[in-house]
C-alpha cells in the first residue's frame, strides 16, 4: 500500500556497504501526490559521473539525479544534504557498488514524504480551459459565469444553441460579438420562416473573423449553413470567404458555429430576410392576368380572365374568370385551369325551317337557317346567319339570340285560277 512517507537506507547502514551490490527501492505514494525525497546522509565512493558507486533516482523513466561522494548539509538548521521534488507519485531509487572499494563508505540515508502536487501549475499542459482549482490529491476546473463545463471536466463552453428566428427580417451574431467568441462551443441556431419564403442571408466581409484554417485547409472554428437540400460552408478566416448574399432556396436554415479550444477572434454577424418564393409567369394562351406584373411571388393573387370567345375549363362557378394564388411551393393554385374556345353546341331547330349545320360549333363559327321555300320565308331577311358568340350563344346581328321565324308566304297560290268566264 502506498504510504505517505518512508525511509530508504543503503545496505548495512550505518555500517559500510558491501561491494558489488545493486539494490532498488520502488517508492510509491498515493495518487495525486508528488514525492519529496531528501538525503540526510551521503557517503558513497566518489567517482567521475558516479561511475562506480552511486545512488540513482529515476521517475517515469527519467533520471532525476545520481549521487556519490560525501556531502554535508550547508544549512546548519537543516539536516538535508540533497533533495528532490518529483511531481509524480512513483520513483525508483537504485543503489549500486562495484568491486573496488578499499575504503569504508557508509552509504546513504534518505527519507521521502508525499507532498501535494499543484496540478494547475506543476505540469506543462494547461489542465483547464479557464479556471484551475488545486486541492490535495487532485484539481478541478471551473468556468466563468454563463459558461458551462463540458463533460471532459476540463473545458468550458457556452450555451449558445436553441435560438429560432421566425421574423421575416433579422440579424444574428456569434456569442459576445464583436468581442471574442467562446472557445470549444457549438452554437446551433435556426431560421424558420413561413413556407413560401426562402431565407436570404447577407454577410459583410468585415463582419466575419473566425479562426483561420489549419495548414491543411481545415477550419479550426467554422460557420456553416445547412438546409434540407444544400450545405453552405464551412467558412472561416478573416473576412467572409463565401458569397456576400446566399439564397438558400429554403424557408429553414440551420446555422452551426463550432469553435475549438484555441483562438481569440471576434466572430461574425449576418443579416437575413425572407424572400417570397416566385411563381412562374406563364400566361396561358387566350388569357389576361390582372394585375400585370413582371414577377409574381408567394401570396400574389391574380385574376385570370379568358379572352372573348374562350371559357375556363375546370374552373369555378364563373366560366369567364377565376382567381389563382401563388402558393408556398412556387406553384399556382388552379394551375390546371385553361381557357378553351366556347362551344355553342348544336343550333336549335326552328319550325318550318332547316339548319345548315356548321362544320364546327366553336367560337366564331357561322351557320345559316333556311326556311322551307316557297311556302315559308324568313321574317327578317338578315336573320339567317348566326355566329357563335363569346358567351356560348348563337347570335344573329338583328335578333341576337332569338331564333328566326319562318313565316308563311301569303297570297301566292301555287296554281293560277283560270276561268272561261268573260
Amino acid at each position: 500500500e502506498p504510504t505517505l512517507h518512508g525511509e530508504i537506507l543503503s545496505p548495512n547502514y550505518p555500517q559500510a556497504y558491501p561491494n558489488d551490490v545493486k539494490q532498488t527501492w520502488d517508492v510509491e505514494v498515493p495518487e495525486g501526490f508528488g514525492i519529496h525525497l531528501y538525503f540526510t546522509h551521503l557517503d558513497i565512493e566518489l567517482s567521475e559521473n558516479c561511475l562506480y558507486d552511486s545512488v540513482k533516482i529515476v521517475s517515469g523513466g527519467i533520471e532525476e539525479g545520481k549521487l556519490c561522494g560525501q556531502r554535508t548539509s550547508k544549512n546548519p538548521k537543516s539536516p538535508i544534504i540533497e533533495e528532490f521534488h518529483i511531481p509524480y507519485n512513483k520513483l525508483q531509487v537504485t543503489f549500486t557498488s562495484d568491486f573496488s572499494n578499499e575504503e569504508r563508505y557508509t552509504g546513504f540515508a534518505a527519507y521521502y514524504v508525499a507532498v501535494d502536487v499543484n496540478e494547475c501549475t506543476d505540469f506543462a499542459d494547461v489542465p483547464c480551459s479557464h479556471f484551475c482549482n488545486n486541492f490535495i490529491g487532485g484539481y478541478f476546473c471551473s468556468c466563468p459565469p454563463e459558461y458551462f463545463l463540458h463533460d471532459d471536466k476540463r473545458n468550458c463552453g457556452v450555451n449558445c444553441s436553441g435560438d429560432v428566428f421566425t421574423t421575416l427580417i433579422g440579424e444574428i451574431a456569434s456569442p459576445n460579438y464583436p468581442e471574442a467568441y467562446p472557445e470549444n462551443s457549438r452554437c446551433e441556431y435556426q431560421i424558420q420562416l413561413e413556407e413560401g419564403f426562402q431565407v436570404v442571408m447577407t454577410l459583410k466581409r468585415e463582419d466575419f473573423d473566425v479562426e483561420p484554417a489549419d495548414s491543411e485547409g481545415n477550419c479550426r472554428d467554422s460557420l456553416e449553413f445547412v438546409t434540407r437540400r444544400q450545405r453552405f460552408g464551412p467558412y472561416c478566416g478573416n473576412g467572409f470567404p463565401g458569397p456576400l448574399t446566399i439564397e438558400t432556396k429554403s424557408n429553414t436554415v440551420d446555422i452551426i458555429f463550432q469553435t475549438d479550444l484555441t483562438g481569440q477572434n471576434k466572430g461574425w454577424k449576418l443579416r437575413y430576410h425572407g424572400d417570397p418564393i416566385p411563381c412562374p409567369k406563364e400566361v396561358p394562351a387566350n388569357t389576361i392576368w390582372e394585375p400585370e406584373k413582371p414577377k409574381y411571388v408567394f401570396k400574389d393573387v391574380v385574376k385570370i380572365t379568358c379572352l372573348e370567345g374562350f371559357e375556363i375549363v375546370e374552373g369555378g362557378s364563373d366560366p369567364m374568370s377565376l382567381y389563382s394564388t401563388c402558393l408556398s411551393n412556387g406553384m399556382w393554385s388552379n394551375s390546371k385551369a385553361r381557357c378553351q374556345p366556347v362551344d355553342c353546341g348544336e343550333p336549335e331547330p326552328i319550325r318550318n325551317g332547316k339548319v345548315q349545320m356548321p362544320a364546327e360549333t366553336l367560337f366564331g363559327s357561322v351557320f345559316r337557317y333556311t326556311c322551307e321555300e316557297p311556302y315559308y320565308y324568313m321574317e327578317h331577311e338578315e336573320s339567317a346567319e348566326y355566329r357563335c358568340s363569346g358567351n356560348g350563344s348563337w347570335v344573329n346581328e338583328v335578333l341576337g339570340t332569338e331564333l328566326p321565324k319562318c313565316v308563311p308566304v301569303c297570297g301566292v297560290p301555287s296554281k293560277p285560277f283560270t276561268t272561261s268566264q268573260r
Binding site: Y375, G411, T419, Q421
Partner: protein, 251 residues
C-alpha cells in the same frame, strides 16, 4: 258560287272549309282564320279543313281537321235573336285562333292582309276572286271547290237588287262604309260561301300577290250582287287581336 267554275284548291290555298253550318273562311296565318261573324256567332267550336278540293264526307273523315282554340267576333257586331231575320250585317267579321299551327304547302297557304297605303285602295271595277263550296245555280252546295272572278261595283248596285221573295223588304237592310259590293253578270257568292275571302291581286314592291279585301257577307239575291265586309276597315283590329292572342290561351 254563281257564275263560277270548278277550281283547284291550289288556286285558293287560303280557302278554309267549315263543315258544320257549311261556310268558308280564309287562312291569314298559321294560327288564324278570317271569316264572317255570322258564320261563328252560333258556333264557337267550328270544325274546319284546309287543303281540300272535295268535301266528301269520306274524305273529311280521313282528313285532319283544324280545331278552334278561340273565336273573336268583332265587338261591334250586333247580335240578334233570330239570325234568319237579320238585316244588319255591319262588322260582319270574325277571327278564329287555331289550337295547332297549319302546315303550309302547295294546297295550303295564307292570304295576305292589305296594308293601309293607297296601294291597297279598292275601287269600283277592280277584279277580285271568290271561292267556296256554297250554293250554285243548280245545287244548294257542291262537293268540288268552285271559284269565280268578279268586279267591285258601287254599293248602290247591291242596294238596288230586288228580291224574288216578296216578303223581303230590301229597304230594311243596312248598308255601311264597312261593306263593299261586287258581282254582276251572274257572278256572285251565295249561301255556303259566307266567310270566304274576296281577294284581289296587287303588284306591290315588285311582287304580285293576292290580298283579302273582302269577306263574303250577305246578299239580297244570289246571282246578282253580293255584299262583302270591307277588310281594310278591320286590318288594325285584326292585327291587334292576332298580336294580343299570339300565344296559346290558358284553359
Amino acid at each position: 258560287i254563281f257564275g263560277g267554275s270548278i277550281a283547284d284548291i291550289a288556286s285558293f290555298p287560303w280557302q278554309v272549309f267549315f263543315h258544320s253550318e257549311r261556310a268558308g273562311g280564309a287562312l291569314i296565318d298559321e294560327y288564324w282564320v278570317l271569316t264572317a261573324a255570322h258564320v261563328v256567332e252560333r258556333n264557337y267550336h267550328p270544325t274546319m279543313y284546309t287543303g281540300l278540293n272535295l268535301t266528301k264526307s269520306s274524305l273529311l273523315a280521313k282528313t285532319h281537321s283544324l280545331a278552334a282554340e278561340s273565336v273573336f267576333i268583332h265587338p261591334d257586331w250586333q247580335r240578334v235573336d233570330d239570325p234568319s231575320m237579320r238585316t244588319n250585317f255591319d262588322n260582319d267579321i270574325a277571327l278564329i285562333r287555331l289550337k295547332q299551327p297549319v302546315k303550309m304547302g302547295p294546297a295550303v297557304s295564307p292570304i295576305c292582309l292589305p296594308g293601309a297605303s293607297l296601294n291597297y285602295s279598292l275601287s269600283v271595277g277592280d277584279l277580285g276572286m271568290i271561292s267556296g263550296w256554297g250554293k250554285t245555280e243548280k245545287r244548294d252546295w257542291v262537293v268540288q271547290l268552285r271559284g269565280a272572278v268578279l268586279p267591285v261595283t258601287a254599293l248602290e248596285m247591291c242596294q238596288g237588287v230586288r228580291p224574288k221573295n216578296p216578303k223581303l223588304d230590301p229597304k230594311s237592310y243596312i248598308f255601311t262604309e264597312n261593306m263593299f259590293c261586287a258581282g254582276g253578270s251572274g257572278v256572285d257568292s251565295c249561301q255556303g260561301d259566307s266567310g270566304g275571302a274576296f281577294v284581289v291581286k296587287r303588284l306591290i314592291e315588285n311582287r304580285s300577290k293576292f290580298y283579302v279585301f273582302g269577306v263574303v257577307s250577305w246578299g239580297i239575291e244570289c246571282g246578282t250582287y253580293g255584299v262583302y265586309t270591307k277588310v281594310q276597315n278591320y286590318v288594325e283590329w285584326i292585327r291587334r287581336t292576332m298580336k294580343e292572342y299570339s300565344t296559346p290561351l290558358q284553359d
